[in-house]
């Protein structure tokens, strides 16, 4: 399989706390890679490092063979890496379509006129069933709509790697089913998806490969069923038997 995103020996410490410790992995186009682990194991920090929100202390990140480790956040967006935030966030006072338009205009897609960007943005909202909410403010949307609006903003920049930070958490069973099929269709379009998730049913349904993190390190990697039976993983989640 071809490699799209390569992460090598990535390390980040906050003071004395090593949040991500020498992590390496590879993601291919069309693959959904699951990233699981207990709270505080460094999953979100890892996403922040890949997205460029924070810089690593050591290690390299390569996108399509090109070293992007030292690029700032906005340039990684143009190198076609984008993400959603754990707590869906978008400007509260701007219509939803405004943020998506900004994504179209500033992202990695072709340059276009301001007005055409509006039509393009409407298309992205339409794909996520949000067209009728295009002129609402972000805080007027429901929880699931906010999550979809945020994904529309990320997709508008035409990413090839998308990082979803607990994008499927907190949904009802039927909403979860819809969410899973959205992620599925992203992978089917050839995007590489990195999925940080606590909802294990979704991880089982979507991922053929899972990385388990604990205290900043990778403790297991493999197919979801095998990995979740792994003794060390069970210990990381549930604690020692005699504890």
């Amino acid at each position: 399989m071809t490699k799209l995103l390569e992460v090598e020996n990535l390390t980040k410490a906050f003071g004395g706390l090593i949040a991500v410790n020498g992590l390496s992995f590879v993601v291919s186009p069309g693959e959904v890679l699951g990233l699981i682990g207990p709270n505080g194991s460094g999953k979100t920090t890892l996403l922040n490092l890949i997205a460029g929100t924070i810089r690593p202390d050591a290690g390299t990140i390569r996108m399509d063979g090109e070293d992007v480790t030292h690029l700032p956040n906005h340039l990684r967006v143009r190198k076609r890496i984008n993400r959603t935030f754990q707590l869906a966030r978008a400007p509260a006072n701007m219509p939803v379509i405004g943020t998506v338009m900004a994504g179209v205009l500033y992202g990695a897609g072709e340059r276009m006129r301001f007005k055409d960007a509006g039509y393009e943005a409407a298309g992205f909202l339409g794909e996520l069933n949000l067209l009728t909410k295009a002129d609402r403010r972000f805080d007027q949307l429901t929880y699931i709509e906010q999550k979809r609006a945020e994904l529309a903003r990320a997709l508008a920049t035409r990413p090839r790697v998308i990082l979803l930070d607990e994008w499927l958490s907190g949904l009802s069973p039927s909403e979860l089913e819809g969410g899973v099929s959205v992620v599925w269709s992203l992978a089917a379009q050839g995007l590489a998806v990195i999925l940080v998730e606590h909802v294990l049913t979704a991880v089982r349904a979507l991922c053929r490969r899972v990385i388990v993190m604990n205290a900043g390190s990778k403790i297991a990697e493999g197919r979801p069923d095998e990995v979740l039976r792994n003794a060390e993983v069970v210990r990381a989640y549930l604690g020692d038997e005699d504890a």
Partner: protein
């Protein structure tokens, strides 16, 4: 979604009508020196100057939501540069130098203050203006042994007015462009949420510094244009901190959500300041403070917000009369609502700490 031919025709008609109306308005304003008395003209100069300052201020602060109190710094730099150089070069050359100095200062200040936000940026702007004033005073006393400069040029009130008017037209045009452009949308997004702005691919520091320079250039130029208005200029006069505060209050009173919003603050406040300064010269600052409190407590969206609400109320279908109880009930509902106090400096500090030490539930 495509436009029909009818839509395009209608839009074109609207454009033609609005361009014609604006041309008429600007034409009428440009004729003012021949229509008005000397006193009327000096009033108009004052007003157009504040229009330029306020709209230019709003270009930066209205979009990025960073309140700048550096207006008087740039205004003073413009004015004092002209005053210092008027004896060694032609007037228009001094304007050009003032523009360059203002832009350079804005670049340095912009780059230095990139990481400063909220309250700290406000204080920095104020401090900058005071610092430049003190430095200029020091320079004039110790190096040039002068305390003030005479500006005698053949650049009369009518010329000043026409130039300021041209500047106002340009600054409005830029504001208009920003509202329908990629760059303007990017600035709005920065004002709303910088993390999201970065995540759509906006170069946040670059955009902020760029618009800060654009805004500062207009403020500097209007200061430069005002220099010939006063025969004698000293640093304390040029770098008057009141200018910064007046501009902020005018902009907030008018409202920032529309391009023409600041006008609704500039016009009434210039008229009132004129009246107060002739009748009760020492009351202007007190009055300004009162206006600011009224804005904070009752008019958070400015006069523009009031007009917008009025318009929606008027265009709403009429409801059946509810008799006397209707208004009474509304008054009661308003009275029983809890009063929202602004959170003041303490709130800003709280937010700051929350950023540094996120609450455990947000970390995960």
């Amino acid at each position: 979604m495509a436009e029909t031919a009818e839509d395009i025709r209608r839009r074109r008609n609207r454009t033609v009508v609005s361009i014609a109306a604006l041309t008429l308005l600007v034409g009428a304003l440009a004729a003012a020196p021949w229509l008005l008395s000397d006193y009327g003209l000096s009033f108009m100069i004052n007003m157009v100057c504040y229009v330029v300052l306020t709209v230019a201020w709003a270009l930066f602060s209205g979009t990025t939501r960073l309140v700048s109190l550096a207006t008087s710094a740039f205004f003073g730099v413009g004015m004092y540069t002209v005053a210092m150089l008027i004896k060694v070069m032609p007037l228009y050359a001094t304007f050009a130098v003032a523009l360059a100095v203002g832009a350079a200062l804005a670049l340095v200040v912009g780059v230095l203050t990139l990481r400063i936000s909220g309250m700290f940026f406000v204080i920095f702007g104020f401090g900058l203006s005071e610092m430049i004033r003190e430095l200029t005073v020091w320079w004039e006393i110790n190096q040039t042994h002068t305390m003030g400069r005479y500006v005698y040029v053949t650049f009369d009130a009518a010329m000043i007015y026409e130039h300021l008017l041209a500047l106002a037209v340009i600054v409005f045009f830029i504001g208009w462009l920003l509202r329908r452009s990629r760059f303007g949308l990017g600035l709005l997004l920065i004002g709303e949420d910088e993390a999201v702005a970065q995540q759509v691919g906006i170069n946040v520091p670059f955009a902020k510094v760029t618009i800060f320079i654009v805004s500062a250039v207009f403020i500097t130029l209007s200061g430069a244009l005002m220099a010939p208005r006063f025969g004698f200029i000293n640093p304390n006069f040029a770098f008057n901190p009141l200018v910064s505060f007046v501009v902020v209050i005018m902009a907030f009173l008018g409202g920032l959500q529309r391009l023409w919003g600041p006008l609704l603050g500039v016009i009434p406040l210039t008229i009132l300041s004129e009246v107060l300064q002739t009748e009760f010269p020492f009351w202007f600052s007190i009055f300004l403070g009162a206006v600011f409190m009224v804005i904070v407590y009752f008019l958070p969206r400015g006069v523009t917000g009031l007009l917008e609400d009025g318009w929606t109320a008027l265009s709403r279908p009429l409801e059946l009369p509810r008799g006397l109880t209707g208004p009474l009930r509304e008054v009661w509902a308003r009275l029983s609502r809890p009063i929202m106090l602004p959170r003041g400096i303490a709130g800003v500090i709280e937010d700051r700490w929350a950023k540094i030490l996120p609450r455990p539930s947000e970390k995960r």
